[in-house]
Every structure is written in structure tokens, then in C-alpha cells.
């Protein structure tokens, strides 16, 4: 009996000791990544894990290996939920002070949380070092800079949000000219009404974020670029009559959309136009990949145009790369950022991904037909920041606006309530 008891005690002590040791050992494993000798590496954290996004990343990595053959690329891509799974993991890693060497983020105000939390570095020096200030349009650099002139990320590509996709066959069947250019929303709404009476879904939309996407283009169309930009710097009154009018248009447009919208993400909503069960869809220009994958021709099988009333404005969003504070291998990260900002890197990446380079010196002839029109608009149009894609507001504001929008489109709030909630959300 006694022996037994002593045995038990020994085993128990050993178990406790073992656990304690394990707990102590756990703390310092993260720190020494990449610190060994000259074998430099760069862990690039993205949510580009599939489709044209992965093709773009692969092309960019190809260019990176050409420019920096001595640095090893480590793919930190996290799949799932259109980036939400990656953002979740990133939040945890940054909080635990275990950042990747560089991570993907939407350029603009979405970075504000990371800046406030002192989690990413000012990279303005790199702009000078790599000569990026002149390579990017001044409008864009302006939009990327924080109030004190610091810039925290280097954009890899530009997307346009205010694009409406249409199925010309459906339009022609209902006596609507597919070539028509709508000067304002009212003209467009008249045609949508015609389609509605003919029993076609006039406008397809998906879940909440695509509704916010639609809302932002409506605000842009009705308030104009200056008024729209004013919504984010406080110079346009959210409670004003112009906003009320825009929200009324939004309500009208939502009345023309499919009932099952809340269950669909953008590919399914765009598919409705591809299949001809809906006439129009407002979506960013990444949608062009969905059409091209199914061998649809721009001009004959589908058309792309600025949303009614937003011609001459480029509602932009950009993916960009950052330099996290405490990155294990900052030299590797800088090398990656150099490739991201370089002409060769941007051309290789965007040709594969279907977006356009942020640099103005790329040769449009290298790109597809749709991309060429986007490059042209980007160079000549007024540039404004997208709301639904993190360029215009911090994440918390966008989430509050999304909540208010969902509440309104499901019928839980009226227009006045919606406007009040938007105003409250924008104030933070």
C-alpha cells in the first residue's frame, strides 16, 4: 500500500512538473522565426488562396523570385469567407505580437485600426526609396495618406466599385437599348421598372455587403463625388435632404431586386445576370473574371458601364501590403514591398488577377479589353474611396453601416430611422 502511494505521488509530481515545463517552453517559440544566419525569408499573409486571386499571387511571387532570388517566399494565405477568416486570424496574431512579415489589407481607412493600435509602420520612406510617389496618381497617394502625411501601405492593384454589369440579350428582349448611357438614376429606374413589369428581375443583389456596395454607388450618383467624399470627412450632412433623396432612390432600387438576396454572395448574384435571370448587377470589376471564366465576351454577352450618374468618377478600392511593427524579417518584407510597388510586379500581378495596376506607367496594351477601359478611367476620372471595401471608413463604422443597411432592407426600420442610424454610424 505504502509503495503504491509513493508511486502515485511520484507520478503526480512528474506530471505537474512536466506541464509546468511545457507551459514555460511555450512562450518563446514565435520569436526566432527567420533569425537564423543569412537564409532570409518573408511570410506574406493574404486571403488570396483560390481562383484569379491565387493566379495573381503566383505571378507576383514569380516576379519576386526574379528580383530577390536570395529571399525565400513563405505563403501565409488563409482561405475562407472572402477574407474574413484571414482577418480573424490576423487580428489574433497581431494581438499576440506574432505578426507576419507583411500582410494584405484594403488600402485606406480600413488600416486606421492597425495604425491606432501601433501595429503597422509608416512606409513613406519606402515611397521615396522606391520612387513610388510619382508613379502613383496624386489623387491616390492623397487618399492613402493619413492626416499627418504618413503612408502605411503600398497598393498592389486597383479595383473599381461603381460598375454595373448587364445582360444585353435580356435587355433587347424587353426593348431596352443595351448601349444606353444613363445620365442619372431616374433614367435607369425607368428602365428597371419596365423590366419589372415584364416579369424579369431587373437588378440582382446579394447579401448585406453587396447591398452596402449598391448603397455607396447610389450615394455617389446622387451626391456627386464631392458630396460623397464629404460624407466621410464630415462636410456633407448625413441628416440632410440630399441624403434622404439618395436613400429614397436606394429604397426604390432595392424594390427591384431578387427576394433571395440575403442568402447569396456576389458570385451567385452576378451569376443571375450571366444566366439571364436578371438584367443588371452592380458589382466591383472583379466580377469580370466571373464572366470571362464562362467564356462570355464583353460587348456581346455582357456589358460593363459606370453606374448611372457616376460616369467620370472612379470609386476605387485597393489591396495593399503593410510593414507590421515587430515583423520578424523586416528586410524580407521591404524586398516584398519593393516588388509589389515595381512596374514589373504590378503588371504581372494584375494581368493574372484582372484588376489594374496602381502605377500610371503600365502599358495598357498588356491588358484585357475591360482592364484597358478601367486603366483609362483611373487615369482621367475623379477618384473617390469605396465604403463597402474599407477605403472610406474604419471597420467599426462599416460594420455599423452594414447593420443599419440590413435592418432597413429587411424591413425592420423605415427610411428616417435608417438615415438616423447611418448618421450615428458615421459619427462613430
Amino acid at each position: 500500500m505504502r509503495v503504491n502511494r509513493r508511486m502515485t505521488a511520484t507520478v503526480a509530481t512528474a506530471a505537474v512538473l512536466g506541464l509546468t515545463l511545457a507551459a514555460c517552453g511555450g512562450g518563446d517559440t514565435g520569436g526566432d522565426n527567420g533569425a537564423e544566419g543569412g537564409g532570409e525569408q518573408v511570410e506574406v499573409f493574404t486571403w488570396w488562396a483560390a481562383g484569379s486571386e491565387k493566379a495573381g499571387l503566383d505571378a507576383l511571387v514569380g516576379e519576386f523570385e526574379k528580383q530577390h532570388p536570395d529571399i525565400e517566399f513563405v505563403n501565409g494565405a488563409v482561405a475562407g469567407g472572402a477574407g474574413s477568416a484571414a482577418k480573424d486570424l490576423l487580428q489574433t496574431r497581431l494581438q499576440a505580437q506574432d505578426p507576419p512579415d507583411t500582410f494584405q489589407a484594403h488600402a485606406g481607412m480600413e488600416l486606421q485600426d492597425y495604425i491606432d493600435a501601433a501595429q503597422i509602420e509608416d512606409v513613406s520612406d519606402l515611397y521615396d526609396e522606391f520612387g513610388l510617389t510619382d508613379a502613383f496618381p496624386a489623387d491616390l497617394v492623397d487618399r492613402l495618406s493619413s492626416d499627418d502625411g504618413a503612408i502605411y501601405s503600398i497598393p498592389s492593384n486597383i479595383h473599381r466599385a461603381n460598375v454595373v454589369w448587364a445582360n444585353p440579350t435580356v435587355l433587347e428582349e424587353n426593348d431596352i437599348d443595351p448601349e444606353a448611357e444613363y445620365a442619372d438614376l431616374d433614367a435607369w429606374i425607368a428602365d428597371l421598372d419596365k423590366l419589372d413589369k415584364a416579369g424579369v428581375t431587373p437588378l440582382s443583389v446579394g447579401t448585406t455587403w453587396t447591398q452596402v456596395h449598391l448603397l455607396e454607388t447610389v450615394l455617389l450618383a446622387d451626391l456627386g463625388p464631392e458630396g460623397y467624399t464629404g460624407l466621410w470627412d464630415g462636410s456633407t450632412d448625413w441628416e440632410g435632404p440630399e441624403v434622404t433623396a439618395a436613400l429614397e432612390d436606394f429604397e426604390t432600387l432595392m424594390g427591384y431586386t431578387n427576394d433571395d438576396r440575403d442568402g447569396l454572395d456576389w458570385p451567385e448574384a452576378t451569376q443571375l445576370v450571366i444566366d439571364g435571370s436578371a438584367a443588371f448587377n452592380v458589382m466591383g470589376d472583379w466580377a469580370v473574371a466571373a464572366f470571362e471564366e464562362q467564356d462570355k465576351e464583353l460587348g456581346t454577352d455582357f456589358t460593363a458601364a459606370p453606374v448611372a450618374g457616376t460616369d467620370g468618377t472612379f470609386d476605387f478600392l485597393a489591396d495593399s501590403f503593410t510593414l507590421p511593427v515587430g515583423a520578424p524579417d523586416p528586410e524580407g518584407a521591404k524586398a516584398w514591398l519593393e516588388t509589389v510597388g515595381s512596374l514589373e510586379g504590378q503588371v504581372a500581378f494584375n494581368k493574372a488577377k484582372g484588376s489594374i495596376p496602381a502605377r500610371t506607367d503600365a502599358d495598357p496594351a498588356d491588358f484585357s479589353e475591360y482592364q484597358q477601359t478601367a486603366i483609362d478611367s483611373f487615369a482621367n476620372d475623379t477618384i473617390v474611396s469605396s465604403l463597402a471595401h474599407g477605403a472610406a471608413t474604419p471597420v467599426a463604422t462599416l460594420n455599423a453601416i452594414s447593420d443599419a443597411t440590413s435592418k432597413f432592407t429587411t424591413g425592420a426600420s423605415d427610411l428616417a430611422g435608417f438615415q438616423g442610424e447611418l448618421a450615428a454610424a458615421a459619427q462613430g
Partner: protein, 300 residues
């Protein structure tokens, strides 16, 4: 003294690792969560201590409970729980009652009913999202289409997209998945009742209803209570099925667990923690009385 240590020491040492782990990772974190919920830690800067956060005591709780949106989430949770509980209990009991009679192929039926539980909520949610498509008439698909085919057009509805009762539509797949489990519990309960009791009741001239009312139901009540508690706490924590069928931003299907997720992704840790504490309290309200009861019964 030494003797006592000898007696208590080794078991205590053996238990120590799990006690420490549970202490730190369950109770320690509950305390950490609760303290966070008492601060004004609403931004990313405060979360990383770049900016100070202050103690605001129960302000977050009051604000949450006063907000119309959170009340909507709580209401959804109540609706979901009531329908989910009622549905699984009724279906589970009926199936168990039918299988309790000697039937051919009982094993097959049992597996068929129990099988949905093996599917993950995320996987079944994807399928149910298609079935519960809210398009009607020409565009209808899923169950609405089925209603059309069998000529019950009037039954078409927009399922989970109804702003007040939409959440009940999400309880349907939950009932489908867990009724089999409740059936298994009840079936075990039925089988645990000695046959002599029924025979004795019949000998005494009890009608079939009286037999159930006075002999079988009382014997089944502990099983029913366990089933209620298990399903009830699952329902209160509902998250994955809702996320899979709907989306976190969809107002019509918000419940507190979804709110917690959205707050967390907005870097609003204080409100996320407050929602977490509220959920814990609600679940505790269900579980603690049950634990106390079981504890008392075991002592008896």
C-alpha cells in the same frame, strides 16, 4: 497533520494539472472576460494599450440591453429556443413512442432518425440554405418550389428572411438534426421502465392513457429534463447553423452569439465581452438549477 497530507496529497497532486488548467483556461478566462466587459475598451488602440481604457462598470450592459438591436437579438434567441425545444421534444418523443412498440426493422429506423446528428451544422446549413430559398412564384426554388409542385402554393413564404419570425425557419434544420438524439434519450427511458410495471397497471385495470399518465410519464421525467437541458443550452449557444444559413450581418437572423462575433471583428472587445457574459448568465440560469437538483438527488 502529516498523515492527513499523506492521505490528501497524492490525489490532489494528480488532480492538480487539470485543476490548474481548468482554473486558468475556464474560470480565469471567464474572469478576464468579465473584467473586459466592465471597461470602455471599444477600439483597436485601446485593445493594444496604445490608449488608456477606463472602468465604466455596467454601462456596456445597460447600453446593450437598452438598444433596440440587441433586444431584437434576444427576442430571436427566445423564439429560436422555444421552437427548437418544442420541436425536438415532440418529434423525439413521438418517434421513441412509435419505436417502443415492437416494430420490424427498428434498428434501421433508429439509425435513420439518429443519423442527421452526425452531420455538422455547417454542412447541413449549406443544404438548408438552398432548401429555404426565399424566392417565390416564378423564381422559386427549394421548399417553395416543392410546395408549388404539390399544389400548395399558398404555403410559399420567405423563410428566414422574415424580419420577425425568420429565425424560426432556422430552427427547422436544428429540429431535423437533433430530434433523433432526443428520440434516443426517450427510447432509453422507455426501455428502462420494467415491464412488470406496465403489466401491473394493466392488471389493475388502468386504461392506456392512465398507464401513460401515471406510470410511464413520471418515470420518463428525468429523461425529459435531461433532454430539455441539453437541447436548451445548445440552442442558447446557437451560432454555426445561423452563420451557415444566413450571414453575420443579416439583421433578421441576429442572435447574441452573432452580435458577439460582429463586435469582436469591429475591435469592440468590451461589448463583445459583455455579450459573452450575458450569454453565460442565460445559460447558467438553465444549467445551474439542474446541476443543483442532480447533486441533491445523488446525495439522497
Amino acid at each position: 497533520m502529516l498523515k492527513k497530507l499523506r492521505r490528501v496529497g497524492p490525489p490532489l497532486l494528480l488532480l492538480a494539472p487539470s485543476l490548474i488548467l481548468v482554473g486558468v483556461f475556464v474560470y480565469g478566462l471567464i474572469v478576464a472576460n468579465f473584467t473586459t466587459s466592465l471597461t470602455d475598451n471599444h477600439t483597436a488602440a485601446q485593445a493594444t494599450e496604445q490608449e488608456p481604457s477606463a472602468m465604466v462598470w455596467f454601462t456596456n450592459y445597460f447600453d446593450l440591453l437598452a438598444s433596440e438591436d440587441f433586444q431584437h437579438s434576444l427576442m430571436n434567441l427566445v423564439l429560436y429556443t422555444v421552437v427548437f425545444l418544442a420541436g425536438t421534444m415532440v418529434m423525439g418523443f413521438l418517434w421513441a413512442w412509435m419505436l417502443d412498440k415492437p416494430v420490424k426493422g427498428e434498428g434501421i429506423f433508429r439509425s435513420v432518425y439518429l443519423f442527421p446528428m452526425a452531420v455538422s451544422f455547417i454542412a447541413s446549413g449549406v443544404v438548408w440554405r438552398w432548401l429555404l430559398n426565399s424566392n417565390q412564384d416564378e423564381q422559386a426554388s427549394g421548399l417553395n418550389r416543392l410546395f408549388q409542385i404539390v399544389g400548395l402554393d399558398a404555403l410559399q413564404n420567405n423563410w428566414w428572411n422574415n424580419v420577425t419570425f425568420g429565425i424560426i425557419a432556422i430552427a427547422i434544420p436544428a429540429i431535423w438534426q437533433l430530434s433523433g438524439y432526443v428520440m434516443a434519450l426517450f427510447l432509453a427511458g422507455f426501455r428502462g421502465i420494467p415491464h412488470e410495471l406496465r403489466e401491473a397497471a394493466r392488471m389493475d385495470g388502468a386504461s392506456e392513457w392512465k398507464l401513460y399518465r401515471h406510470v410511464l410519464f413520471p418515470q420518463l421525467s428525468p429523461v425529459a429534463l435531461s433532454a430539455l437541458i441539453i437541447i436548451g443550452h445548445m440552442s442558447l449557444k446557437a451560432f454555426d447553423l445561423i452563420m451557415s444559413i444566413s450571414k453575420p450581418a443579416n439583421y433578421q437572423t441576429k442572435v447574441p452569439a452573432v452580435d458577439m462575433f460582429v463586435f469582436k471583428s469591429s475591435f469592440d472587445y468590451a461589448n463583445a465581452a459583455a455579450v459573452g457574459s450575458i450569454l453565460l448568465i442565460i445559460v447558467a440560469l438553465v444549467i445551474v438549477p439542474y446541476l443543483i437538483r442532480t447533486n441533491r438527488e445523488e446525495k439522497r
